[in-house]
Structure formats: C-alpha cells, structure tokens
C-alpha cells in the first residue's frame, strides 16, 4: 500500500482563475518588472530635478561632513605608508572608496537611528530612488575627491609614479567597490550594508601588510586599472538600473530594503 492509500487525502483542484493568479504571482516574485533602461534614467533625472540636492540630503548633511573629516584624517597615515611609493597602489585601493562607503554607511545608519525608514517606504518617491540618487551624487563627489587626493599624494611623493597610473588605481577601486556594494544591496538588502565594506577593507589590507602583493600591484600597468575602472563603472550602472527598477515597481521591501 502506498501513502495515498493509507492516508487518503482529497486534494482540492485549483480553478482556472486561481491557476492564472498563482502563475502571475510566481512570475511577479521571480522576475522584477522589466522597465526600459531609458525610462529608469529618465525617472532618476526627473526625480533629481524635482527634489533637488537639499531634499536629497535633508537631515543627513552631518554624515557627509563626518565622512569628509574621516577621509582627511586618513590621508595622513596614507601619506606615511605611501612614503617611497612601494605601497602606493595598496593605499590608493584602500582609501579611494572610503568617502563613498563612509557617507553611504553613515546616512543609512542615521536613517535607521531616526526611525524614518518606515515612513519613507510609503512615500511616493521610492526610497531606493532616493538612495540611488544619493549614491550617484556621492560617486561624482568621490571621483572629484579621488583626483584631488591623487594630486596631493603625487606632489607629496615628488611625482615618483605617473599621475595617470595613480588615477587609474583610484578609479578602479572606487568603481569596483561601488558596483560590489550595489550588487550586495540589490541581492541581500540591508544585510549587505556592512559586510561589503568590511570585506573590502580586509582584502585591501593584504597588500598593505604583505610585501609581495604590494610589489605585484605596483607592476600592473595603468591601462589594466583603467580597463577595470571602465568595467566597474559599466557594472555599476547596470546594477543601478536593477536597483532603481525594483524600487519603482514596489519590490524593494520584498528584497529587504
């Protein structure tokens, strides 16, 4: 005798309407609504124009001040470690995304602490759209900041290595970090907010403390770093599209942020 004969169970069959609804629900959950890429960027531009920088960073301005301050303080040990330029690549790799990562972490922490998230999830402009716009602005500020930091360190180290090489290292680090952090948030929501920067610091510290890795990094030519930066930037934009699309379609809370 099989189980069905021992425990006869009457399984209710689904109606045609229930079947259609179940299929639609499975598809909705499994596949985020596909919006045209141009629509997403248009929506981002329209929202940016509508809210302006002041609204975008309302209540979290102190987080950027703090991040910039930490970044400035970090420049001193960075300059000391870079003396002689043996560890230039490792240091640049570590500090380039620091402002971006710190500002993002601090703003999210403040939103969480002030308990404003629940409200923001129910407001018309998706919280993900706001986060995305903040990340884009922070990215732009970080690019400008990286140029400035490279220029300062380059002049401090009496132009021991090429400025373009330094820039390419800084940009590759920034874009790779940005895209990995965005991928993490897109896939695992808030749970990825802390592990990604921690992992980045751990990995970046290896060449700082391990000579062979530092030497190997220094031998990588600028065009390789530039290619990595371009790939990172492309991947960042693709991740940004999916990140914002999920927010607009209302799937963001289902994904955890």
């Amino acid at each position: 005798m099989n189980d069905r004969e021992i425990f006869p169970v009457e399984v209710p069959l689904l109606t045609e309407d229930e079947k259609k609804r179940a299929v639609a629900m499975i598809l909705d959950t499994a596949m985020p609504a596909i919006l045209p890429k141009s629509a997403i960027w248009r929506e981002l531009c329209r929202t940016a124009g509508m809210v302006g920088l002041r609204t975008l960073f309302f209540g979290v301005g102190d987080c950027f001040f703090l991040a910039a301050l930490v970044m400035c303080v970090c420049l001193f040990p960075a300059a000391a470690v870079m003396a002689g330029m043996a560890r230039a690549a490792s240091c640049l790799f570590l500090i380039s995304p620091a402002f971006y990562a710190l500002s993002h972490l601090l703003t999210l922490w403040k939103e969480y602490q002030t308990r404003t998230l629940e409200w923001k999830w129910t407001w018309r402009i998706s919280f993900r759209t706001i986060l995305a716009l903040r990340m884009l602005v922070l990215g732009a500020v970080s690019v400008a900041g990286s140029i400035l930091v490279c220029a300062v360190l380059w002049s401090l180290e009496r132009q021991a290595v090429s400025f373009v090489w330094m820039l390419s290292v800084a940009f590759s680090a920034l874009f790779l970090y940005g895209s990995l952090s965005l991928l993490g948030q897109r896939l695992w929501g808030m749970r990825a907010v802390l592990p990604v920067p921690l992992a980045w610091v751990m990995v970046s510290l290896v060449p700082v403390f391990w000579e062979p890795a530092a030497v190997w990094l220094m031998q990588i030519p600028a065009y390789v770093f530039l290619a990595a930066a371009a790939a990172g930037a492309g991947f960042y934009l693709i991740q940004m599209y999916y990140f914002v699309a999920a927010g607009i379609s209302g799937l963001d809370r289902r994904l955890g942020i």
């Binding site: 609804r21 629900m25 909705d28 509508m50 809210v51 302006g52 609204t55 309302f58 209540g59 002030t114 308990r115 404003t116 998230l117 629940e118 409200w119 923001k120 999830w121 129910t122 407001w123 018309r124 402009i125 998706s126 706001i130 607009i248 379609s249 209302g250 799937l251 809370r253 289902r254």
Partner: protein, 285 residues
C-alpha cells in the same frame, strides 16, 4: 475600495494572520485586538511595508503591490513609532515629506499651513521638532500623513500621547476627513475607537473575528452585562470584566448569561464587549 482577499502572513513557522478577508469602503475603521493578534502586521501589509504570504490586497480591483507608486500616492500612513529629524522644524520636515510625495512646489506651502492649522500647530511651525512635546509630535505625524490628501489613511496608534483636548480635536478631524476616504486606525484606547469608528475590525487567534458597527458588537452582549457591588460573590459562570467607581463606592462590571443576585443590568459599552470577547478567549485557551 480596498479589498483584502484571503490574506495570510507567516514569519517562518509563525502565522501572524490567517485567511483574512475584508472589503473596506469609505468611512472610519477601527482595528481592535490585543497585542500580538496581528494588528500591526495587517496595517503594514495595507501600507505595503509587508507582503502577504498568501492571498492578495486590491485597490479598486488592482493589486496594491503592482500599483507601486500609484498606490503610495493615494496612501497616507502614520507609523506607530515614527521618526523625524530632531533639528528640523515641522514646516521643514513637512516640506521634505511633500517633495518626496511629489506635491507641486507651488502648492506645498499653502497645504502645509492649512494642515498645521488643522492640527493646531501653526504657532509651533518653526520650532525645532526636538523641542516639541509628545502630543505635538504626534500631531505633526498626523499632518505629514495627510499631506498628499490620501484616499486611504492608515493611522497606527494615532492618539498615543495626546491629551484629552487634543484627542477630541483629533476625533473631530477624523470625522471630517472620513467623508470621502477610507480611514483605518488602530488604538488600544477603546473609547477613542468607539466614538470615531463607523466599523470595528476585531482579530482573534490571528483570524478575523468581525467587522461590524460598534452598536452591533455591543448588541451581542445586551442583557449580559451587569453591575455588582465590589463585595458581591462571583459565581463560576460569571466573568468580572472591570472594576469602576459607582455612586456607592467600587462596583464590578460582570458578564453573565443569567442576571446575578444584586446585579443591575447595564448597557454594554465597547470596552465591555472587547473585554468579554478576549476574556472568553483567555479562559478558553
């Protein structure tokens, strides 16, 4: 019209809500249930902060999750423990909320002034939020929830922290607002809900118990609520609902199928009904 169709919400092995079905048309609905019955889960699902494990929630026949921004545009939500930026003023915070609600700039200030006046905060409009009392903050919250003139207003414990005067003002405000929208509010203050809500949604054992008018709910206990002196002997089939102060000292309000000796039949209040419903549940458990 908001329809909740056979909605179940599970957190792992725990079922917070089971097979809830409701149809809500315009008017005020009070959500009444003891702590842990699934009130907040239901409110959060209606605000799209949580998603049903089974079933669906529809606005005019369209699933609210699929509506995305369009649904959020017609929703006003006041969380139970809402946050704010302490260094901003009510006006600044409302301007911020208005921008994120896509309210046209030209209209924003006029709407903010009107709402601040409605909640009696015109004088405190430019004071820092950290300097406001709990009741004033709650009124700011209500004003923020109403910024987009919502078709569906969800208020989680809106009267918490309000003094009696503010509470009366709030009731009047909700009455005037409910004429052309759905207002759903949860509160543990039964007297508030009794005077505000046209219909009361009660949950028990994570399921829907009823969605009736206060009169219908109280009507179920007509002839079963009695007032007894505090020293009266309580029989096993009688349930003490509450104690109060009568003209001749402390009195007990008792639920009993049969009129008790020395008992005076009284009109059941919503609080009696609430206590009776959940007392029988406790005893049955």
């Amino acid at each position: 019209m908001l329809s909740v169709e056979r909605v179940t919400k599970c957190y792992g092995n725990l079922t917070a809500l089971e097979d809830i079905s409701l149809d809500l048309a315009q008017g005020v609905y009070g959500l009444l249930a003891p702590n842990g019955a699934g009130k907040s889960t239901l409110m959060k699902m209606l605000a799209t902060l949580l998603f049903p494990t089974k079933g669906r929630i529809l606005w005019d026949g369209e699933e609210i999750v699929a509506m995305g921004e369009r649904y959020r545009g017609l929703l006003g939500y006041l969380p139970q423990d809402f946050g704010y930026y302490p260094n901003s003023t009510p006006r600044q915070f409302m301007r911020y909320a208005a921008a994120l609600q896509k309210i046209p700039r030209a209209e924003t200030d006029r709407r903010i002034s009107r709402l601040l006046e409605l909640v009696g905060l015109s004088d405190a409009a430019d004071r820092k939020l950290k300097r406001l009392s709990g009741g004033m903050l709650q009124r700011v919250g209500i004003a923020v929830a109403m910024l987009n003139d919502p078709r569906l207003l969800i208020l989680d414990e809106p009267t918490a922290g309000l003094d009696p005067g503010e509470r009366v003002r709030f009731r009047n405000m909700i009455h005037s607002l409910a004429e052309d929208r759905i207002v759903i509010l949860s509160t543990h203050i039964v007297s508030d809900i009794e005077t505000i809500a046209g219909r009361i949604i009660m949950l028990r054992d994570h399921r829907l118990l009823c969605c009736d008018t206060p009169a219908q709910i109280c009507g179920r206990f007509r002839g079963k609520i009695f007032q007894l002196p505090a020293d009266a002997q309580i029989m096993p089939h009688q349930h003490v609902l509450s104690e109060g102060q009568g003209e001749n000292g402390t009195v007990l309000r008792v639920l009993s199928e049969m009129p008790p000796e020395d008992g005076v039949a009284v009109a059941p209040s919503l609080e009696d009904a609430f206590l009776a419903i959940y007392a029988s549940k406790r005893e049955g458990a």
